[in-house]
């Protein structure tokens, strides 16, 4: 029997019992649709989070003083030395690396900010002009820190929007003077409110030149150095360059920890992929249920079509041909059910996007392929038993039943 004829025959057989066929198609397509839709949503969530993180800059490398994991094993800690501080000199040495894009130092402290008797405890960040771009800060008005040498302790500050309201109310603040921990400084800009950044509420914080911050904190150690690699591919080389350079400056001691935005992102990415896979797997169970339905309906159909099967044998169909006929019926059903399920799933994904535009629910290609493959193999697997039963029918008895 020719393959094309087998398919036509299977189609006619499916077409002859519409209710049965539609029910099985429905079960199959709902199974496939739920795999497609759920993995789509999972994938959307992953893309959303990846996107949120990459807005911070995926090329970012953060240098932290002190060695995180192996701190207790270094000779320095054994003889009771605390790790050497990160300094502006370290930053300057790094500045000239050829993979280094932007670079910014960071010191942090809590200080009293006051103006005309109004007083507030605020987080103060010391940094340089490049911080604006590295951390995607936005200005409401005025300017950010002046782009000049990091050593210059110019007494100026940029304040958060909420702090501005609390200290100034509606009054203009630019070029006004406030006191930070007793030091006078001039307000040169106000930050736009955009939630949290670096773990601080951008609405409340104050940003000052790093040298000025070191002066008011009376501390020359840096909290962090933020380095942006020129491109993603040079991150590894950049990390090597940083540890080599700092080691040289710190008398052979590699007393820093380097973390990348990328590694954090990768962890999240992996977690959400696993989640998507799990959700998809759970949805695949419905495909299994569809398979069992197909098996039952096919067993029924074999019982109903006993005479037909016996006849085909009398007309010269081999056992194998009989099996092939029934298996193709199931495969056809799975294929049509699978395809309509994919359409249904994509329609569902599209509707989800209409309601939650931030969630880009694009079902991943692998999930669509896997759902289709599962549908087909379910059809194959669960039709084998009914097909075998049909093939083993005794044609004489099958024809005798009338």
């Amino acid at each position: 029997m020719r393959p094309a004829d087998t398919i036509v025959y299977a189609m006619r057989s499916l077409g002859s019992n519409t209710v049965r066929t539609v029910l099985m198609l429905l079960a199959m397509s709902i199974g496939v649709a739920s795999v497609v839709l759920l993995t789509g949503i999972g994938n959307g969530a992953r893309l959303y989070i990846v996107d949120q993180f990459s807005s911070l800059g995926t090329n970012l490398v953060i240098i932290i003083p002190g060695r995180a994991e192996t701190a207790s094993n270094t000779p320095a800690t054994l003889v009771g030395q605390t790790p050497r501080e990160l300094t502006l000199d370290d930053m300057k040495a790094l500045q000239h690396g050829d993979m280094v894009g932007r670079i910014a130092p960071l010191t942090i402290g809590e200080l009293n900010a006051d103006r005309q008797g109004k007083e507030r405890q605020v987080p103060v960040l010391g940094s340089t002009a490049s911080m604006l771009d590295i951390h995607h800060l936005k200005m409401e008005s005025g300017t950010f820190l002046p782009d000049e040498g990091a050593d210059i302790a110019r007494p100026v500050c940029v304040i958060g929007a909420k702090l501005y309201q609390e200290l100034f109310g509606q009054a203009p603040a630019l070029n006004e003077v406030i006191r930070l921990g007793g030091f006078r400084c001039r307000v040169i800009g106000i930050l736009a409110s955009q939630g949290r950044s670096l773990g601080f509420d951008t609405q409340e914080m104050v940003v000052v030149p790093v040298a000025f911050a070191q002066m008011i904190f009376d501390n020359h150690g840096l909290f962090r150095i933020l380095v942006e690699a020129k491109d993603q591919s040079s991150i590894d080389r950049l990390k090597h360059f940083i540890s080599r350079t700092i080691k040289k400056l710190h008398y052979g001691e590699e007393d820093i920890t380097i973390i990348t935005q990328d590694s954090v992102l990768k962890t999240f990415d992996k977690m959400l992929r696993v989640l998507t896979l799990t959700v998809g797997g759970i949805a695949a169970i419905s495909l299994f249920v569809a398979g069992i339905l197909i098996m039952n309906v096919m067993l029924m159909s074999v019982a109903q079509r006993t005479a037909e099967i016996g006849l085909c044998k009398a007309l010269g169909a081999s056992n194998f041909q009989i099996m092939a006929l029934l298996v193709s019926e199931a495969l056809l059903l799975s294929a049509i059910g699978g395809l309509s399920g994919i359409l249904l799933g994509f329609a569902g994904a599209w509707i989800t996007v209409q309601f939650y535009p931030t969630l880009q629910t694009t079902p991943p290609f692998w999930a669509v392929a896997a759902a289709m493959a599962t549908a087909l193999s379910t059809g194959l697997l669960f039709s084998l038993l009914p097909a075998r039963r049909a093939a083993c029918l005794d044609p004489i008895q099958a024809l005798a039943r009338h």
Binding site: A317, I396, L399
Partner: protein, 225 residues
């Protein structure tokens, strides 16, 4: 062409043995017209099923065109059934969802004959058996006689070596029964080997050779000259 030697077929029902065929020997030559008669349960259908390779003997040998066929594998038997045997049944056994043409083409399709070729063959048969006006009707839209004519067309579509009919008129009124017998005899006159099982002595006696079966044995085998 067909030769059975000492063929037996034994069924065991509830621990009891039923000899549906008891050491039957029989030779059929090409172009013969044979009727098989006998009381109910005597083993006529069993004999026909064994000739048609739907059933296998428990003992004895069966040579079809000189080839021993008792020990062949399923796909080989299917192949022979497809090319050498044509079956006609009392209850027609047409597939209800298929049209007359599609029913006629079914054995051709199973044999892997190309669509065009199938169309040519079925068109010729439809014409020949006077079914032209009914060719896309489904079985439930046909009369009993028409159904049996479709079944005969189906049986001869693959130009079988032998046509086996098990009570082909058993489910028809007299007039359509006579028509069907005319049709079969016409085929036989053109060289088709024909074996008909029947209860109707009038029909049985028309055959060139009458075989009588009682209790699984051939008790009479007479040729008419």
């Amino acid at each position: 062409m067909i030769e059975l030697r000492d063929v037996s077929r034994i069924f065991s029902v509830g621990g009891q043995e039923v000899r549906a065929m008891d050491r039957v020997s029989l030779a059929i030559e090409p172009g013969e017209y044979i009727s098989i008669m006998g009381p109910s349960g005597s083993g006529k259908s069993t004999l026909l099923n064994i000739i048609g390779l739907l059933d296998t003997p428990d003992s004895g040998t069966y040579l079809l065109e000189g080839r021993e066929v008792t020990s062949l594998a399923d796909h080989q038997l299917a192949e022979i059934r497809s090319r050498k045997i044509g079956f006609i049944f009392q209850f027609f056994h047409l597939i209800p969802r298929l049209t007359a043409v599609q029913n006629i083409e079914l054995p051709l399709m199973l044999a892997g004959v190309a669509k065009k070729q199938r169309g040519r063959i079925s068109a010729r048969l439809i014409e020949e058996f006077g079914l032209a006006s009914r060719h896309s009707h489904r079985p439930d839209e046909l009369s009993g006689g028409q159904r049996q004519r479709v079944a005969i067309a189906r049986a001869v579509a693959n130009q079988p070596a032998v046509l086996l009919a098990d009570e082909p008129t058993g489910n028809l009124d007299r007039a359509s029964g006579a028509e069907i017998i005319d049709l079969l005899e016409d085929l036989n006159r053109r060289g088709q080997t024909l074996v008909v099982v029947t209860h109707d002595p009038e029909i049985g006696e028309r055959a060139g050779r009458c075989i009588r079966v009682v209790d699984g044995r051939i008790t009479d085998d007479s040729r008419r000259d």
